[in-house]
């Protein structure tokens, strides 16, 4: 397989603040990489660097063979930490934003966006304004918008962080098959060990600032079961414990863990 995303010795400094240091990893085509790490260790910064929104201070990032910011921008779709829906557009128009940006007319863009919109359980809410939607629905609109951009790499920054426990579980359950489809590569930042293991093929653990790669672990049997079942399995809890101790070694006292803890 060819690497879709390749990071070689990537570092980023803001003035005197060293945020990321010597980051090396590769992301295969169709693979999902979960990224976990203590708060403020540079996870969002890393996504911005991959997306081409920012340039590394040291090292290089290659996405789909291109190293320039514009190459990366052209191949990545970024879903920010907040849902960032445009309040003045309807739900479907928000989902169709990338299609509009790529030059389609409003009607064509809406028609093209609708199947994905419906598949995410949003049918009937085409013309609702974001303010009228629940948190889970807003998150799904934001995901539809990211997905519909048609990019080969999805950069998801804590896509489910704002949701309550139950909604979060059900969102994980519908997100899993989409990401497991193998059509797109994805980098998924999360604070939740269970989510990292459940949605990712591999899990990358970052240290506290300056963020360094502490290790990359395989995630057992991702997306095969429902999230509650998965978190109860033995292989799962073993990986979970391993990741937890890895994290703890880097950031003693930092509160990081699964949604159960």
């Amino acid at each position: 397989m060819t690497a879709m995303v390749q990071a070689d010795g990537v570092g980023r400094r803001f003035g005197g603040l060293e945020v990321l240091e010597g980051i090396d990893f590769g992301l295969d085509e169709g693979e999902v990489l979960s990224v976990i790490g203590p708060s403020g260790c540079g996870k969002s910064t890393l996504l911005g660097l991959i997306a081409g929104l920012d340039r590394p201070t040291t090292g290089t990032i290659t996405v789909g063979g291109g190293t320039a910011s514009d190459d990366r921008l052209a191949r990545c779709a970024y879903m920010p930490q907040e849902d960032c829906l445009l309040p003045w557009f309807s739900a479907l128009d928000n989902a169709a934003l990338a299609l509009r940006n790529q030059g389609r007319g409003r009607k064509v863009a809406r028609e093209e966006a609708f199947p994905v919109f419906e598949r995410l359980g949003l049918g009937g809410f085409e013309d609702a304004k974001p303010a009228e939607l629940s948190g889970g629905m807003r998150q799904r609109v934001a995901f539809a918008r990211t997905w519909l951009a048609g990019k080969s790499v999805l950069l998801l920054d804590e896509p489910l962080a704002s949701l309550d426990g139950l909604t979060r579980r059900s969102m994980q359950a519908w997100l899993a098959p989409l990401l497991a489809g193998g059509e797109r590569s994805a980098v998924l930042v999360t604070h939740d060990l269970d989510e990292a293991l459940y949605l990712g093929d591999r899990v990358l653990v970052l240290s506290g600032r300056p963020g360094r790669v502490l290790g990359i672990r395989e995630a057992p049997g991702r997306g095969e079961m429902d999230p509650v079942e998965a978190s109860g399995s033995r292989a799962f809890s073993e990986s979970r414990n391993e990741l937890a101790s890895l994290l703890e070694s880097a950031s003693p006292g930092d509160q990081i863990g699964g949604s159960q803890s």
Binding site: G48, A51, G52, L53, L73, A74, C76, A77, Y78, M79, P80, Q81, E82, C84, L86, P87, W88, F89, L97, A98, R100, N101, Q102, K129, P130, A131, R145, T146, A149, K151, L155
Partner: protein, 252 residues
């Protein structure tokens, strides 16, 4: 609006007018001020002047209204245009923004006579005065609005293949609308004052012009009637802008 919002100011206004009426009609007001009673009209005399001279007043009010609308429109176009330009061009913004703010310390009334010298006695100098005072609240508020857009929103648009113009039209301009309306509400209120100043330095019609005439001829009741009409114009324009704001910002 709820009754609880309307009743208190209404009661206060009625009390004020009643007190004024009694004080003026009994001659008490003129006496304490040491003035000729002719110079201190009562509200009922002002109302009578408003009715008797309605043709003259309406004619001049229309002139002033027209000046205000035209001056405001000029300020809106130039103000929003300048805000967009400064927003898109960072070095230009850095260079000119302090100057724009500094220009605000020059009282427009002081330069009004010069404007008459430049633009003659037509509508030109009035437009210029009104546009000058309306420009600042509109431009500054719109610029703040354009800059209020959170960075992740713009970044999201950039990775979704948005060109600069699309970000401006789909994100920054809608986000700046509430700010623009705040500026426009301040602008219409001061525009009426600007029109009067513009007319005072050189005009042959308009409520400001009429006030000068009435002042010279001691037509104080009609003078107050003009003042009343000026505030009615300002209030109606303010209400219209507030209504447009409610209609165009439907997402809140």
């Amino acid at each position: 609006m709820k009754a609880s919002q309307i009743v208190p100011p209404l009661v206060l206004a009625v009390l004020f007018l009643a007190a004024w009426q009694v004080a003026a009609a009994t001659g008490f007001l003129a006496e304490t001020l040491g003035l000729d009673p002719l110079l201190v009209p009562s509200p009922s005399e002002i109302a009578a002047a408003l009715y008797e001279d309605r043709a003259v007043l309406a004619e001049n009010a229309l002139v002033t209204l027209w000046e205000v609308l035209a001056g405001f429109a000029v300020a809106l176009v130039i103000g929003v245009g300048a805000a967009v330009l400064l927003h898109l061009h960072e070095p230009l913004r850095r260079a000119t923004y302090p100057l724009v703010v500094a220009s605000q310390t020059i009282p427009v009334i002081v330069i009004a006579p010069i404007l008459v010298v430049w633009f003659g006695y037509g509508i030109g100098p009035k437009l210029a005065v009104i546009a000058l005072i309306c420009f600042f609240p509109i431009a500054v508020n719109t610029l703040d609005g354009l800059r209020s857009v959170p960075v992740p929103l713009v970044e999201m648009m950039r990775t979704l293949d948005a060109r600069r113009s699309r970000i401006l039209v789909d994100v920054e301009l809608p986000a700046s609308l509430p700010y623009l309306f705040s500026g426009a509400k301040i602008a219409v209120a001061v525009a009426v004052i600007g029109a009067v100043f513009g007319e005072w330095v050189g005009a042959s019609s308009g409520l400001g012009y009429l006030m000068l005439q009435d002042n010279a001829q001691l037509e104080t009741a009609r003078l107050f009637a003009s003042v009343f009409l000026l505030s009615v114009i300002a209030l109606v324009l303010f209400g219209t802008v507030a209504l447009l704001e409610r209609l165009s910002i439907s997402w809140r």
